[in-house]
Symmetry: C2
């Protein structure tokens, strides 16, 4: 674990103290400089490097966020929005100190419009929290990044997950946002209509802006009716190329799969080791889900089996009862933790390459070769229906050489994906780790991003050190 040493800034402590004094009576115990809390807010998941904020605040409302932002702006103190803390890219660390804005107490579902299939929540509502409230209405919010992230955090990183192949990413399902701008003004973006051509798409600009342009305080999203029928399945293949070949063909034929996920042999070993899915062989495995009317689901399964059989699929298992489906998907969801369990004491540096689906097999092959050369354990899971996969090089935090090899491999995976016309990040974001990769990927377009950043946050107070190279 590395501890980030902020640039010496004696003045900053005084500015933080003045912000604290200004907000103390309003926030009471919801504003703190307790060290344990600051430490907890100084890092996310993934690389566990610590960079502590000076203060942590727990606002309850958009108005309070605006008050806090104005107080920080007056003292030029950085602001770092913090959701569930499950970012893998260092988004929530505070390399320049400042105030960590913990949104988790803004956890109210504000309205559910069952008739028009939308809802509005505070940014700290988690996807499981929202789905618990929706269940009795026969509705669900499909996005599922594995972690029980907050909707604000998912919007800020343009998250997606296992259902994106059918239901889209945060880019597609968010209808509108409430945002506190860097100067502390409250704006509404988007609206409740499913589509709009009214002016610049600020909703999509804030989605994926990683807290660098303002604080997302409310999120309106589309909802979906729970499908009449849901059927899950797994099947296994002799090699990765066959598994990927099935995915490409299924997508080309337009099968409306709801989920199609890949786990490689190493990942399956991890599942077995964590006592999940012990009955399955350590072979490349596809996890599938089919949604629709009973006849449509039967038709999809039949078409899928035809394709899978032609690539030598084995060990088909189907699960229609909810508890059986849950067991299959729980294993897939916990892949990050069962991956870590393959080498106790290790940390991981999760990659996030995403390529055109036709390039997926070749890209995976090149990345597997790079992984082998690194001599690290590297389980792979993937949202292969989107061409997105995560390789998890495991390294021991006390072995600088292992860490260096893991970091080099992660960079290499990004470069390989870019060479295939893809991106270094499909859903985790840039954070602190991928700024160089962003520049490589988008070239002169990064200057346009910087111009927008400078126009909207001229003093660089919103989550500094993340997403873009500093000007």
């Amino acid at each position: 674990m590395t501890t980030h040493v902020s640039p010496p800034d004696a003045d900053r402590a005084q500015r933080a103290a003045r912000v604290e004094a200004r907000l103390a009576s309003q926030l009471g115990e919801r504003l703190t400089r307790n060290t344990a809390l600051r430490e907890q807010h100084g890092r996310g998941e993934g690389l566990r490097d610590l960079a502590m904020p000076d203060l942590v605040a727990f606002p309850l409302s958009t108005e309070e966020v605006a008050d806090i932002v104005r107080a920080c702006a007056a003292e030029r103190l950085p602001i770092i929005p913090f959701g569930a803390g499950t970012s893998l890219e260092g988004h929530v660390s505070a390399p320049f100190g400042g105030l960590s804005l913990d949104m988790t107490r803004m956890d109210k579902v504000l309205e559910i419009n069952a008739e028009s299939l939308d809802c509005r929540v505070q940014a700290g509502v988690t996807r499981l929290g929202l789905n618990a409230e929706l269940k009795s209405l026969g509705l669900f919010f499909p996005l599922d990044p594995g972690a029980n992230a907050t909707l604000g955090g998912m919007a800020a990183t343009r998250a997606s997950g296992t259902n994106a192949v059918r239901y889209g990413t945060m880019r597609e399902v968010v209808l509108g946002l409430t945002v506190v701008t860097p100067s502390g003004e409250v704006i509404q973006t988007g609206g409740r209509a499913r589509k709009s051509s009214a002016g610049y798409d600020l909703t999509r600009l804030y989605i994926g802006s990683e807290g660098t342009l303002g604080v997302i305080t409310e999120v309106a999203v589309r909802l979906f009716g729970v499908p009449e029928m849901v059927s899950s399945a797994v099947c296994q293949f002799a090699d990765l190329q066959s598994a990927v070949g099935v995915v490409i063909l299924a997508l080309q034929m337009g099968l409306p799969l709801a989920r199609i996920e890949l786990a490689d042999a190493t990942t399956m070993l991890g599942f077995a080791k964590s006592a999940k899915l012990t009955e399955m062989a350590p072979l490349p495995t596809l996890f599938l889900e089919f949604h629709g009317g009973p006849k449509a689901v039967a038709e999809q399964i039949e078409s899928f089996r035809d394709i899978a059989d032609s690539f030598g699929a084995q060990g088909f298992q189907f699960a229609e009862r909810e508890e059986d489906r849950t067991r299959l998907w729980k294993a897939r969801h916990d892949a990050y933790y069962s991956g870590l369990a393959l080498a106790p004491g290790c940390e991981s540096l999760v990659t996030d390459a995403c390529v055109p689906i036709s390039a997926l097999a070749d890209c995976l092959k090149d990345c597997a070769a790079a992984a082998e050369a690194s001599r690290l354990i590297c389980p792979i899971v993937g949202h292969v229906g989107d061409g997105n996969f995560h390789m998890m090089p495991l390294f021991h935090p006390d072995h600088p050489d292992e860490r260096a090899r893991a970091e080099a491999l992660a960079q290499e995976v990004g470069r390989i994906a870019q060479a295939y016309g893809g991106t270094c990040t499909g859903e985790h974001g840039i954070g602190v780790h991928k700024i160089d990769a962003l520049v490589r990927e988008h070239g002169p377009a990064v200057a346009v991003m910087q111009a927008i950043k400078h126009a909207l946050d001229p003093h660089g107070l919103m989550n500094p050190g993340k997403t873009l190279p500093s000007v």
Copy 2:
């Protein structure tokens, strides 16, 4: 027809002449100040007000666009991108003069990646042109705004059309863009991966920016496999409320309809008058399309009929053969022209309200009452699956009172939609006609849009007078 009188600007003629001199040898006959061509480029469809540019250029490549933009920037001459000229909102007029950049000769399909279901085209490629090239590959580009618009124009206005309920709008299907910035730099946004979290979403920022932030010169879009089976249908209802009730229920039940379009009784009269669909009664009518495997389509139709029957549907007609489907949809596509045919010599001011689907019935009722009060003929068609409908108040251009009533009604329709939580424009954009409505809809967020505009186009040269109030 009103002719816009530009503010007197003796200097502008000289600046235009210098731009012309600078580009003459490079562009030859592809740069002109021919009056007929300038007039043709001085207005779109919809309100036929004329505001002529000083010059019209026909670039062939991104590099030429960059050269033209640099020449105009050096002389501070406005640039107005021009696609098929089918905008209904005055986007292509030149109220401050300048150079109209006609993109229609940039009409090459640059690459089709059948395996990964994407392609890249020059901005002047039309949707029908693209689909002609895709046909033999079993692929199609689904977006269909009626007019044979260019993909660049569709991106610039965030267009959608009849298939959006299933396939999304330009916001969802565009993967990336090539853009010439206001200073003449060429940038690439997005990429070929289906999803990305790499930095700010410039793709979505330029989509819907109506030529005010740069010139879109290339567009990469997702493609889709032609469904195994396509079945079209129409059915009629005693009143609008019943037709809309069917749509709401079908969406809530998650029926994956590919198209669900509404035409009101007046529109059906127009279809009959233009010798299209003469056999159908002048009653509110739904036009439908079902895509999928044969069993899935049969299941969808069965479910849909159950819902429709419960609302008293009559006159169901099904069409599976392509020529029969084409006839049905041709009528729907030509609704704008058959609407105009209801009152020969009239023009129309097409509204574009879009509301949450649960509010659609009430919103339509209020708008119909406003239409009746206006004493104008007002056919209504709608992409009702998205909550989007177009009312077309017809007025005679020589009757200022009729035009005033049409304009007041159009404003009122926008206000009604906004009061129901919707937008004044679902897919046509702001242009010159809806700037006040945008301010009403987005309030302080408009200042954020203006800050972005100012940062990226500090001299205000890109399509001035459109989209945003001037600062």
